[in-house]
């Protein structure tokens, strides 16, 4: 007997009791989470807990075997990545996704590869450059010659080109120095405050990730064990002991 959940109009993204994995083995065993419009939500958890798997399942890179995913009032379970992109979810993947020998501007152009309207391309690129003055300064610089932090900003900027309703970030802090990580998170917060950007991020760096989020989920062995406001999680003794390295 399966219960048929109804799309909850209040939430922008809902993952309801999802099971997904590789071959016959489920890595996610009934994960549920939601993201509201204007929120920054962070999923934390140890290595191998299935954080990236959640990301892949929502984005259609991995088959969801059981459970439902709703976005913006419609079910998107097992849609293809292209369709999900069109529905309004952009991703900032963990792997390096810039084109190193292209200029910053050309990288942004490539982000709008599927858009043919030249005026719209120009408008969107100008808009994104206005959000990131640092990128605007370097518009003609080869992207590969920029620092790791600047490249990550370019990746985030490119994710905003298609006017997404939600941006999913897979470990935005991966491979970056602590100071740079802070700068990236500051920018996520700034975009959230300035343009109401809704973000779902998956973070290894649990403490910092939560500090810059409204709410969080703790994922352990494919199940979410804790959820709550970022403050609650940061202060919860169990969570602190297990994931935040605190006492």
């Amino acid at each position: 007997m399966m219960t048929q959940p109804s799309p909850n109009g209040d939430h922008l993204l809902v993952a309801d009791n999802i099971y997904a994995g590789y071959l016959d083995y489920d890595i996610l065993k009934g994960v549920s989470l939601h993201v509201d419009k204007g929120e920054v939500v962070c999923v934390i958890g140890p290595n191998g807990a299935g954080k990236s798997t959640v990301f892949k399942a929502i984005y259609g890179l991995l088959r969801v075997r059981k459970g439902h995913i709703f976005f913006d009032g419609q079910e998107i379970t097992n849609w293809r990545p292209q369709e999900i992109l069109r529905a309004g979810i952009s991703i900032v993947p963990q792997l390096h996704s810039i084109f190193p020998q292209m200029t910053v501007y050309e990288n942004l152009e490539m982000g709008l590869y599927l858009v043919r309207d030249k005026r719209r391309i120009q408008e969107r690129i100008d808009y994104v450059l206005s959000l990131f003055p640092r990128l605007a300064e370097r518009r003609n610089q080869q992207a590969g010659t920029m620092s790791g932090g600047e490249r990550r900003m370019l990746e985030i900027g490119r994710a905003l080109l298609l006017e997404p309703k939600l941006v999913m970030m897979d470990e935005p802090s991966a491979g970056l120095a602590p100071l740079i990580t802070r700068m990236i998170f500051e920018n996520v917060r700034r975009l959230n405050e300035e343009i109401g950007l809704t973000v779902l991020m998956i973070e290894q760096n649990a403490r910092q990730g939560l500090e810059y989020s409204h709410r969080g989920y703790v994922l352990e062995l494919g199940e979410n064990t804790y959820k709550g406001s970022a403050r609650e999680l940061l202060e919860d003794p169990e969570v602190r002991r297990a994931f935040l390295g605190g006492r």
């Binding site: 996704s97 084109f99 020998q101 292209m102 152009e109 590869y113």
Partner: protein
Amino acid sequence: MDQLLQALVNGLLLGGFYGVMVLGFSVIWGVMGVINLAHGEFVMIGAYFAWVLNRSLGIDPFLSLIVIMPVMFFVGWLLQRVLINRIVERPHLIALLVTFGLSIALANLFKLFFTADPRTVPVSYNGSFELAGLTFPIVKTIVFGLSLVVMLALHIFLQYTRLGKSIRAAAQNKEAARIVGVEVGRVYAITFGICIALTAAAGAMVSTTIPVFPFMGPPFTLKAFTITALGGLGRIPGALLGGIILGVVETLVAIMVPGVGTNLGIATSFVLLVVILIVRPQGLLKGLRPMEVT
């Protein structure tokens, strides 16, 4: 001194041709990671194509490029879809084996149809002109000029068109190209088509200066290696510079080591390759780094 200057001029003219000859090899390697050992055979096919059109219809070999390039683009596109697509993203050795097999098959297929007799493609304007006391053979000067035009056209295409940008994107970061919506398989087929068209065009041009025969290909493949090592993968300015260096060195060796002629050219090319690999393994310019297409 005059002799030296003249050798430099000859080397320069030869180098321009080398530059366009190597482009297809270098761009296929840079974009798809496939080392095409059948490269020289496509030079050979282009040369035969020009010979056939000239002999049967009397078409000028330079004019015949208008026919040869589109036809060979299609041949390349088809070949990528049918054969090369299966070896992209596989270990290098498989690509080497398949393209080496292809080179043997093509050379022998052409021997079957055209025999091993060397053919020449005559042109009426086979003289030379003098400029500043130096001799410029007309045909070689045309080849040089056309080579520059082709290189410039490819540069503009890759740099400024949407399709060209998608080729560069796929070369630099395949996964990211997929994320932004580039159909990488289609890009590869188009790239292969363009490269085969360019290579055949080089063959058609060179048919006016050297004899055409089924086994003329391998030296071109070998020289392509040297030039790519000199100039870097997929780099058009690098291809031109590398080509000119090889052309000048070959010509100088030919006049300084009398009695050997340009047959020593291939040996020269390898000595050069070995020296580069010892002294500057990353290449003269930015060098042998994959994923660079400009």
